[in-house]
């Protein structure tokens, strides 16, 4: 076991999968000669060459489409989009093509692409670099959507995504690339489905995904000193969603909070609430709470941005509310 950073975990997954299969390629802006905005492909250009580590022009929709076309004939492209905001340019090829080709060909053609992109707020990047669009991909049939929270999943899920025959959207986070975690030295895979209980507890379930898992974990520590035992659940996979693990946790704790960095309307939290209502309504002992971003374009100003984006305090206060303590 060795401790590595999130970006190194992604790099390792690329390296292993590219070594394993000559038809695995990576595409994106500045990923080759420049080494990648998040260093996720650093050094790989020299190792695999320009035909497999492909520096693309700034043409998100079409280079994604080229990756999709190649995937239809056996290539396994890992497409990096510099920021999820720019993925909006590629929605036609992602949502109208990749997500639907298997279905509209009656299962005869598949599109095993992986699209990786950071989606979340960083530090005062303002409205056009702070989008969180998980809910949009989560609501698209024909896609898999995953949110690895740490190096273990970042490496293991990317490797699984490359081998899986479906289009997989991997949503990362600018504030997670330097997070460290121990990972096995030998090759490992992490499954693309299933929520993970990252902290066991008995009084309340805090559900998060992507960066908000860390808010939940921090809040759980504070709740513990108040004598409240919080269970923390990392959704990991937004699509397909692991309803079973959500239900089991809520049936155990009878109280639930969902924390997300996305805005609330028609959001991931809204979907989780609907699932809870449908699957385990009678297990609830208290009204659930959603913690989410303010429904505004993300402001540049430090104080306003901080106000707009949920933090540990927000999750902690929300949990106290569910517990009836405030």
């Amino acid at each position: 076991m060795a401790e590595i950073a999130y970006w190194e975990a992604i790099r390792r997954a690329h390296d292993e999968e590219m070594a394993n299969d000559p038809l695995v390629i990576a595409m994106g802006e500045d990923i080759g000669v420049a080494g990648g905005t998040y260093k996720a492909t650093s050094g790989l250009y020299d190792k695999y060459g320009e035909s497999r580590i492909i520096d693309t022009p700034i043409s998100e929709n079409s280079y994604t489409g080229i990756g999709i076309g190649a995937s239809m004939v056996g290539v396994r492209p890992i497409i990096e989009i510099m920021s999820i905001n720019f993925a909006l340019l590629a929605l036609d090829t992602l949502i109208n093509a990749a997500a639907k080709i298997r279905y509209m060909s009656g299962g005869r053609v598949s599109c095993p692409i992986v699209m990786r992109t950071p989606g979340g707020t960083a530090h005062q990047l303002a409205a056009q670099h702070s989008a969180r669009l998980a809910r949009m991909f989560m609501s698209t049939s024909g896609l898999r959507v995953v949110t690895p929270r740490g190096p273990l999943d970042a490496c293991g899920m990317l490797k699984s995504a490359v081998r899986c025959n479906d289009p997989v959207i991997i949503i990362e986070h600018e504030r997670m690339y330097n997070i460290k975690e121990e990972v096995p030295d030998e090759e490992f895979f992490r499954p693309l489905e299933g929520a993970e209980i990252v902290r066991e507890g008995t009084d309340i379930t805090l559900i998060g995904y992507n960066f908000s898992v860390y808010l939940c974990l921090e809040a759980a520590k504070r709740l513990e000193s108040d004598g409240i035992s919080a269970e923390v659940l990392d959704l990991r996979a937004l699509k397909p969603l692991d309803r079973e693990t959500i239900r089991r946790s809520v049936e155990k704790t009878h109280r639930v909070l969902v924390a997300e960095e996305d805005e609330a309307p028609v959001g991931v939290g809204a979907e989780i609430m609907a699932v809870i209502t449908e699957d385990c309504f009678y297990a609830l002992d208290a009204q659930p709470v959603r913690i989410h971003a303010a429904d505004v374009p993300v402001p540049y100003n430090y104080t306003l941005e901080k106000e707009a984006i949920p933090d540990v305090e927000d999750v902690y206060q929300g949990a106290l509310k569910v517990m009836g303590k405030i």
């Binding site: 079409s62 076309g69 509209m104 009656g106 299962g107 024909g142 081998r163 693309l192 993970e196």
Partner: protein
């Protein structure tokens, strides 16, 4: 070209015309739903270009006006018709319909409804061939209107920078639904538009299949030799409305008549008759045989085929037999 091949080509074009006419009838009888875009008038383009390609081996991709491209690529006509009927035996198991014919067994990689979307997909197919170091090329058929999409410019640039083995065939019928090309497009000669991407390009008559084949051969040889992409434009005309709901109020009867004088089937039939390859009686016999085949084999197959099962609604959304090593689900302790 041998006389037998010439006869076969004429027969194919007549077959495509009759096939589309029969689709029109079936649509009017409400045997088909959705949008239906017919290819009548443009037959020489797909037939001529694909005659010069290695069909079944090269990748072919196009828009929603796709029946003829699919069949000429090798997709069984019965399966295409069954698809239009929404049947389980259809090329896309009834899940795609007229605009989404697929047959990967002959490398026909689909028809797509989003105008301009096949450009990058085609370049991707070509990239796949290049990575696998095969001698395959990708051929992308699209209309004149598609060239106003961003994907056109983005893809021409990348195809050229990366020297991808892809042939873009522009079927310039001068209309995008009801908008005539001059009203939407600053440069009406489409082949000129790719010179900004340093790409080989040419423009030809699309109604004379001999011209189409000769031009296509040059382009295909160029692309297959690894020199990079090629953009070829054919001037052509669609006889029917854009789709079935189009009353063609945007163009004149005179214009239609002018183009009917340049009918690809009539032109080729006249040439073959003049060369004494075929007689009027032969053509009559051919037409009868085609109508028989369409009615007694193709339509019959479509009519008699089963509907998809309602239980199978969720099939084909994701891989139906995924490998649990990659999928899981994760087991919590």
């Amino acid at each position: 070209m041998k006389a037998d091949d010439q006869k076969r080509l004429l027969r194919e074009m007549i077959f495509f015309r009759r096939f589309e006419d029969r689709c029109f009838e079936a649509y009017m009888e409400r045997k088909m739903g959705g949008f239906l875009h017919l290819y009548s008038g443009q037959e020489a383009v797909a037939t001529g270009v694909l005659e010069m390609a290695k069909t079944g081996h090269d990748y072919v991709i196009t828009g929603y006006r796709d029946h003829v491209h699919a069949i000429k690529s090798g997709a069984p006509a019965r399966e295409v018709m069954a698809e239009l009927y929404g049947k389980e035996t259809g090329s896309s198991r009834g899940r795609g319909g007229s605009m989404h014919i697929f047959d990967p067994t002959v490398n026909f990689m689909g028809g797509y409804a989003l105008v301009g979307q096949p450009f990058p997909l085609a370049a991707g197919l070509a990239m796949g061939a290049k990575l696998k170091a095969t001698d395959q090329i990708a051929i992308c058929f699209l209309g004149d209107g598609a060239n106003n999409q961003g994907t056109f410019h983005e893809t021409m640039n990348m195809a050229s920078v990366w020297k991808l083995p892809v042939l873009f065939v522009c079927e310039n019928n001068m209309y995008a639904i009801g908008t005539r090309i001059e009203r939407s497009t600053a440069v009406t000669d489409q082949y000129k538009r790719v010179c900004g991407y340093d790409m080989k390009a040419s423009q030809h008559d699309g109604q004379d299949i001999d011209t189409v084949m000769e031009a296509a051969k040059t382009a295909i040889d160029f692309v297959r030799s690894g020199k990079g992409p090629y953009f070829i434009e054919f001037m052509t005309y669609r006889y029917r409305g854009h789709s079935m709901s189009d009353s063609k109020g945007y163009r004149s009867k005179e214009e239609e008549k002018q183009w009917e004088k340049r009918d690809p089937i009539t032109i080729y039939a006249a040439k073959l008759k003049k060369a004494k390859v075929i007689t009027d009686a032969d053509i009559k016999a051919m037409e009868k045989e085609i109508d028989d085949e369409i009615e007694n084999d193709i339509i019959k197959f479509a009519e008699e085929s089963p509907e998809p099962r309602v239980e199978d609604l969720y099939k084909y959304v994701l891989d139906d037999n995924p490998d649990p090593r990659w999928i899981g689900p994760l087991q919590n302790k």
